[in-house]
């Protein structure tokens, strides 16, 4: 309840939340919302402009592409790919990275230096190029996309998880749990993990935005989602060949990517503010100050 009220007070965060909500609802209800199948072709209705322009038809609000497919329907179905790939990578990379990072931070010593050395090495890899090479060899589908992007993205979680554990592990309640005889697994999962939720979730939302951009870029380069699949990045790459005649083919899917990522970024920065007590105090002080200033000087 209080969280919802806090969200309502921050207007930019509200916009972000609504954009993300729109993305999730669209993806969940895609078959109900979309007027056509994403791949339904009507060759006589090729390259129709959006409905409000000359030559547009009210049957195709955002126009049609070079095969007569409805742009709006493709946008709606495309949201599923972004969400699926983004969610899959965040879960996979997040789980693996958090676990290795916590192990490094909690066990320390040699485990720590081996894991962090590994993280440092992999961070210096040219990730995008390696992703392209791997996708070329194994072929590109949703599963391989999720795995390749996870391989590239787990290191941030490991670093954050390790740093957070280092901050937590000397707290009295953790030492108490150890003294009562809790094993490493129990301390990590039962006592440390619940206290790391908010920084990890903030990072996950931020990474979600990054992964949506990465998937779009890979699909744009032709190494992501393959036709007849639907993805916003793929649609932009198809549309660019018709850009001079049909601007709407590039504009709408690109805007969909941008708005989704913007929503996630706004949400992440709000999460960062409300989960950090210092930032929260500052935020509150600013609001009180503004209200006092608006009321004018005391009589």
């Amino acid at each position: 309840m209080s969280l919802a009220r806090e969200l309502w007070r921050d207007k930019t965060a509200c916009v972000g939340f609504l954009l993300v909500l729109l993305l999730v609802v669209t993806a969940a209800l895609a078959p109900l919302l979309a007027p056509y199948e994403a791949t339904a072709q009507v060759l006589r209705e090729r390259l129709l402009p959006p409905a409000w322009l000359d030559g547009g038809q009210s049957a195709h609000w955002l126009g049609t592409d070079h095969l007569g497919r409805d742009v709006l329907s493709r946008l709606i179905f495309g949201s599923r790919v972004s969400l699926l790939v983004g969610g899959g990578v965040v879960l996979l990379a997040g789980a693996f990275g958090t676990l290795t990072g916590m192990l490094a931070g909690y066990l320390g010593g040699r485990t720590d230096s081996v894991i962090m050395r590994w993280v440092d090495t992999q961070v210096a890899f040219p990730g995008l190029l390696l992703a392209l090479v791997i996708l070329m060899v194994v072929g590109s589908n949703l599963t391989s996309l999720v795995i390749v992007l996870s391989l590239n993205g787990w290191m941030v979680y490991a670093r954050l998880a390790r740093a957070t554990v280092l901050g937590l592990r000397r707290l009295p309640y953790v030492e108490a749990a150890e003294m009562m005889g809790c094993g490493a697994a129990r301390v990590i999962f039962r006592h440390l993990l619940p206290n790391m939720v908010s920084p990890m979730v903030t990072l996950a939302v931020l990474e979600f935005a990054r992964i949506i951009l990465a998937e779009a870029a890979l699909s744009f380069l032709g190494m992501g989602v393959q036709p007849p699949g639907t993805s916003w990045g793929l649609d932009v790459s198809i549309g660019k060949d018709y850009m001079f005649r049909a601007w709407w083919l590039v504009t709408f899917p690109g805007a969909a990517i941008g708005l989704s990522v913007l929503g996630l970024n706004l949400l992440a920065s709000w999460l960062r503010v409300i989960s950090d007590p210092h930032e929260r105090d500052r935020h509150l002080a600013r609001r009180v100050f503004r209200r006092l200033a608006a009321e004018g000087p005391p009589p």
């Binding site: 440092d120 090495t121 992999q122 210096a124 890899f125 040219p126 990730g127 995008l128 190029l129 390696l130 392209l132 090479v133 791997i134 070329m136 060899v137 194994v138 935005a209 951009l213 779009a216 870029a217 744009f220 380069l221 032709g222 190494m223 990045g233 932009v236 790459s237 660019k240 850009m243 001079f244 601007w247 590039v250 504009t251 690109g254 990517i257 941008g258 708005l259 990522v261 913007l262 970024n265 706004l266 600013r286």
Partner: protein
Amino acid sequence: MGRYLVNRIWHGLIVIFGVTAIVFVVTRLVGDPVSVMLPIDAPAAQRAQFSHDLGFDRPLAAQFGDFLVDSARLDFGQSMWQRRPAMEIVREKLPATLQLVFLGIVAALVLAVPIGVLAAMTPGGRLDKAATLISLLGLSMPQFWLGLVLIYVLAVRLHWLPTSGIGTPAHLVMPVITMALPALARLVMTVRSAMIEELSKQYVKVALAKGLPMTRVVAVHGLRNAAVPVLTIAGWELIRGLAGYSVVVETVFAWPGLGLTAVQAISRHDLFLLQAVVFTVAAMVVVTNIILDCLYQLFDPRLRLGGPA
């Protein structure tokens, strides 16, 4: 400093070895190089001959040993597509990528400093809000889309600039803007928060109390102390660009650099050329990382004695 440098170079070699090994494992073990490089309908005899000619039928350990030795000698074999040494092509394409990435990051840095400083002078003010909003938009827009929109508006509609290619300074404008914008967005945020932090410190109040003008305090004292985080992020952006994020920009503008070469090598299944590109990029990233780390130490005496944590 000397020991630290040796440490860093050693780690850099591990990174390059790791990248090389991954490319080897992925292309030789996970995938079959012959079926990647030859058309699907190639007859079995041709496959066997091809496999034998390129040494793919030898034991893997021997292949890997040769691969490492050849990599160390910068010999990555013949490009199947262009029928000449892969490294020769890489050497030819490298300058265009370097030009694009460096100009992009320098442009981002030059613009980000004044914008970020002005935003930090009045946190929460109108200018600050505008800067934050524009940064957020810059971070959220897909780079390839920004490039296409620029082409549509500036080249197709207004005819101000050529759509793609390389040659005159006019060809540089749109690729550099596209390259610079995400970096600009992150740098503006960094300059802003670093300056806000510096300006709230005691020494700033002392300087102002002594009667120094605000502009001098900001430009000389504040900026100098805010330089380290800003340069760190700028270096990070530089590495990001070199590490292959120029691929997208180069593809959009048909910019004949390493990134476009990588995409072409992929679509033509030119394994050896791709290996040469990946190796070169990994080496560039490693060298840039080492140079930047040394620069930070020169810039910030506080970092001097500490090695990697």
